[in-house]
């Protein structure tokens, strides 16, 4: 037998090659030239990744294309880029999918946003991403003294933090964070997801300090505007915004932190407004968020908000009538029921990929369970048969 048989199959010519045009944003800091776009033709199967495409261009046409990459399997986090205006991992985006999102039949690849570009697709993550990680004291501060063996903690707690541990620090969420675009000092989605990894970890002894630190920081947990961009961007299902919302809930409901940024009050104002009216009463948002209509902070904020209020009035987003006599949702009983159900829970229901399963057809699930049980029974029978054979052989 010849060894060539080992890999006979891989030598067959792959079928279904397709041509793609990659439009790469190039930047050479040594040239003195501004960034520009350059097109490369590549040929690959459509299910291969955009990174495979870039690497083909680099191998065959231009070795000077700058791109960080290693694992090609969405685990090392090196190849964060923007593909047709969406942040993500180049290795995790199929060429055909990328093409579908394209407006001009070309796949446009650019460096991540919100970070300075070093060369081509390579950005300075130290200057932004890693600096923000350092901001959240990113290491466990366990209770002393340490146990002799492992900490005994609930099974669910470790599964729960797996979602934020799944972050590979690729920077895709940082790239398109709208809050960070407005406020570069915003701690940001990745670092706050990291913060949850400690606040959600029962072994950490500084939950209160961590939370008040991030709540009191004007660029902390309440600086997130809830835009969902980071959830959309994350290739690993970390859902950074969900982790930020969990930090807020734990800060306000479990630790009763009334932050000086009025973040907690603002959230409660929304909750109470919806409870009372069924919708947001925008006219009451500002006074309620700043400690009630008579609070000095509220007056100050109201004055500062005058231009916005004027605009809203002019555009008839708010009318004096709706502002004074806010419309009440007619089905108050329904709203009451929702509040009772949510607030009446012993434990807050948190969505977590590692715990919660996607909705599924119960019949299908039952069929799956039967399949698993059947396989297990079959295994056990085979095992018993083998054991019996072994015994007979041993006896003989």
């Amino acid at each position: 037998m010849s060894t060539i048989e080992n890999t006979d199959a891989t030598e067959a010519k792959p079928e279904g090659l397709q041509e793609f045009t990659l439009r790469l944003r190039r930047y050479d800091p040594e040239s003195g030239q501004a960034p520009y776009f350059e097109e490369f033709q590549i040929e690959l199967e459509p299910h291969r990744s955009v990174l495979d495409g870039i690497l083909q261009a680099k191998a065959k046409e231009d070795g000077s294309i700058g791109v960080r990459c290693s694992c090609r399997a969405a685990i090392c986090g090196s190849c964060g880029t923007r593909i047709n205006d969406k942040p993500g991992l180049a290795c995790h985006t199929h060429l055909d999918e990328a093409l579908k999102r394209s407006k001009d039949g070309k796949i446009t690849i650019e460096p991540l946003g919100n970070m300075p570009v070093i060369k081509d697709l390579i950005v300075d993550m130290d200057a932004v991403h890693w600096k923000k990680q350092a901001r959240v004291t990113p290491w466990l501060l366990p209770k002393e003294p340490l146990p002799e063996r492992e900490h005994i903690v609930p099974r669910e707690s470790m599964v729960d933090v797996t979602q934020s541990m799944a972050c590979i620090q690729c920077g895709a969420c940082v790239s398109d964070c709208l809050s960070m675009e407005i406020d570069p000092l915003f701690v940001g989605p990745a670092a706050l997801a990291k913060a949850y990894r400690f606040v959600g970890d029962p072994r950490d002894s500084r939950h209160a300090e961590r939370l008040s630190n991030l709540a009191e920081d004007p660029h902390g947990i309440y600086a997130c505007t809830h835009c969902f961009k980071c959830i959309e961007a994350c290739p690993k299902g970390v859902a950074p915004m969900s982790q930020i919302m969990r930090l807020r809930r734990i800060a306000s409901q479990d630790h009763h932190i009334n932050d000086r940024n009025n973040g907690e009050r603002h959230e409660m104002a929304i909750v109470n407004s919806v409870k009372k009216y069924g919708t947001l009463n925008e006219a009451k948002m500002v006074p309620d968020s700043y400690g009630g209509p008579l609070a000095p902070a509220a007056a100050k904020e109201l004055v500062a908000s005058l231009p916005v209020i004027t605009k809203a009035l002019l555009r008839r987003k708010v009318t004096p009538k709706t502002a004074l006599f806010h419309h009440k949702n007619p089905d108050q009983a329904q709203i009451k029921r929702i509040y009772q159900e949510v607030q009446g829970r012993e434990q807050r229901l948190e969505l977590n990929l590692y715990i919660t399963q996607p909705d599924e057809d119960p019949a299908e699930l039952a069929a799956h369970e039967a399949h698993v049980a059947e396989a297990a029974a079959h295994d056990a029978a085979e095992q018993a048969e083998r054991a019996a054979t072994n015994q007979t052989e041993a006896g003989a």
Partner: protein, 564 residues
């Protein structure tokens, strides 16, 4: 010129663990890596880490399983060190914050793994390597005032003083192109394996054998280089790894006829036999025409027999891999897999404290060969290897450094390295492209040095490697710049891979028996009488590879027939 007691090259698990240990021992420490530490390939280790922490378990049982898994080529003294220190290391990791999954009583949960006689694999879902690597990096950030980090620096040479000691390194700042000499009392290589010499491989593009080659060029011996692990479950679609944890959780392997073919070669352990055994069984099915898929080049991994909630909780990553990279919902249908290059058992020969043949130079992790894996590594023993010997190297190096003066080194090597890099950049476009040579190397190694080997094939492999070594001397690149010139680093990496490949082929041709992952169709049996020793490779005066032998240490387990 930066000067440190302990300088570590590579910042995966072995490197970071060494840095923390050396800093804890009071040394001044620097850690250097050609990528940001969390990009290191340890991040891809999925399934878990072995340790006898169950009260009903015993480290001796773990040690025996490892010896048996190594096909009796592992050094038993080193295996005893690794397995007996394993439980303590797991507790250290738990204390610094690794989020190991728990059982119903809140204690560490353990899963089944290949070649193990009981459940002893601690895990974090199927992202164990990532979780540990990121937690170690958390600690490295905490140690910022005690450990200097040189991230995205590329090591070009090791320095040897007149007394023969390793006295530091030369490196290039990838971001600026600046060259720098680093003085160090002790240097630890933790640069990982050389999977990129094979194509396909589960290894990242950064796994190019840098440390193995640099140590070899400086005069250290490599050992067990013929032992290349093919992982039984890599996705046929793209070569990505499916963790052994899938089979640990109960998944089955089937051929085209739907048969669980492992019953032939491992009737007791079935899918959880050692990796070499499972990979051979799969390759046999494929070679004999019982493979599946359009090219009949695969077998099927059936995860549908694992309860769905367990898959979603503990095998989330492979659910994503199946969905995103192969368009398969692994909870509903089997996924085509086949053996793929995964790990280099061999490496720079070290003792149990990580010391190499060169005084002052240490090695730990996949770059090293202690040898705890011998002919075949057990799943979930690689993370353990990196941490135990990373820590031991760091501690030993710090102790040695404490009692010696800082060496005085010159910039002579730096000037040579800078000249060499300039020469590569200036090469005319008359030879072949670096990328072409790398491609041919990978395909050839995977053809001739794979699951099954024979004299004829490996001889061809050796010829290809020799020819590519010549061609590499004139290979050209495109990038003429200094900032992030990845092109020129690729040319240097090609040289590293060719050194390692030469050693692999040479040792594999030499070993005329079948042992562990080295399975020859022309010498099908293990032959303890003639071959129960390690093969070493060193560079002779002319730059050619020279073979040697090193004894296998046997403490309490005499070689026996190996069945699963």
């Amino acid at each position: 010129m930066p000067a440190h007691d302990v300088l570590i090259i590579g910042a995966g698990l072995a490197g970071q663990r060494a840095a923390l240990a050396a800093a804890d021992a009071g040394a001044t420490v620097a850690i250097m890596s050609k990528v940001h530490p969390v990009r290191s390939h340890s991040v891809a280790a999925a399934g878990g880490i072995n340790a006898a922490i169950n009260p009903a378990d015993d480290w001796r049982s773990h040690a025996f399983d490892t010896v048996k898994g190594s096909d009796y080529l592992g050094d038993q003294d080193a295996i005893e060190v690794m397995t007996s220190e394993a439980p303590g290391e797991i507790m250290y990791l738990e204390h610094i914050g690794v989020t190991f999954h728990r059982n119903e009583t809140g204690h560490l949960d353990l899963r089944a793994f290949g070649g193990a006689s009981m459940k002893r694999t601690a895990y974090v879902a199927d992202i164990t390597g990532q979780a540990i690597l990121h937690v170690l990096y958390e600690q490295l950030m905490k140690y910022s005032d005690r450990v200097d980090r040189y991230e995205e620096w590329f090591n070009t040479s090791l320095l040897r003083g007149d007394n023969g000691r390793c006295e530091g390194v030369v490196a290039r700042n990838i971001r600026t192109g600046e060259m720098q000499t680093f003085t160090a009392k002790t240097t630890i290589l933790a640069t990982g394996g050389v999977g990129q010499a094979f194509k396909p491989t589960t290894n990242g593009l950064i796994c190019t054998g840098d440390g193995m080659s640099l140590a070899y060029r400086s005069g250290a011996r490599l050992m067990d280089m013929e032992m290349i692990q093919y992982h039984p479950t890599t996705m046929t679609a793209n070569g990505f790894l499916i963790t052994e944890g899938a089979r640990g959780e109960g998944a089955h392997l089937r051929n085209a006829n739907g048969e669980r073919f492992m019953v032939e070669s491992a009737p007791n352990k079935m899918e959880l036999a050692s990796r070499d055994v499972v990979s051979r069984a799969e390759q046999k099915e494929i070679n004999e025409g019982r493979g599946t898929g359009p090219l009949k080049d695969s077998v099927l991994l059936d995860v549908t027999v694992v309860p769905k909630n367990r898959v979603l909780e503990a095998l989330r990553e492979i659910v994503n891999l199946g969905r995103d990279f192969a368009g398969i919902d692994i909870t509903k249908e089997p996924i085509p897999v086949r053996p793929g290059q995964h790990y280099t058992m061999g490496g720079v020969k070290t003792d149990v404290d990580g010391e190499t043949d060169i005084p002052g130079l240490y090695a730990a992790g996949e770059v090293a060969c202690v040898s705890v894996h011998g002919g075949n590594r057990l799943g979930a023993n690689s993370l353990l290897d990196t941490l135990i010997f990373g820590r031991r190297s760091g501690e030993h190096a710090a102790k040695v450094a404490a009692s010696m003066a800082m060496p005085k080194v010159s910039d002579a090597q730096l000037r040579d390295d800078a000249k060499q890099i300039a020469a590569i950049i200036d090469r005319p476009r008359t030879g072949r492209r670096v990328s072409e040579i790398k491609e041919e190397l990978g395909e050839s190694m995977n053809k001739y040095c794979a699951v099954f080997r024979d004299e004829e094939g490996m001889t061809k492999g050796a010829e290809v490697v020799n020819r590519l070594q010549e061609e590499a001397k004139t290979a050209y690149i495109d990038d003429k710049g200094t900032v992030f010139n990845q092109d020129v680093l690729g040319a240097l990496e090609l040289g590293f891979m060719l050194d390692c490949s030469e050693a692999i082929v040479k040792a594999a041709l030499e070993r005329k028996e079948s042992r562990g992952a080295h399975s020859r169709t022309d010498f099908t049996e293990r032959n303890d009488e003639d071959w129960l020793f390690h093969l070493t490779v060193e560079r002779d005066g002319d730059g050619a590879a020279k073979l040697g032998q090193a004894p296998v240490t046997i403490t309490q387990w005499q070689p026996m027939e190996r069945t699963y």
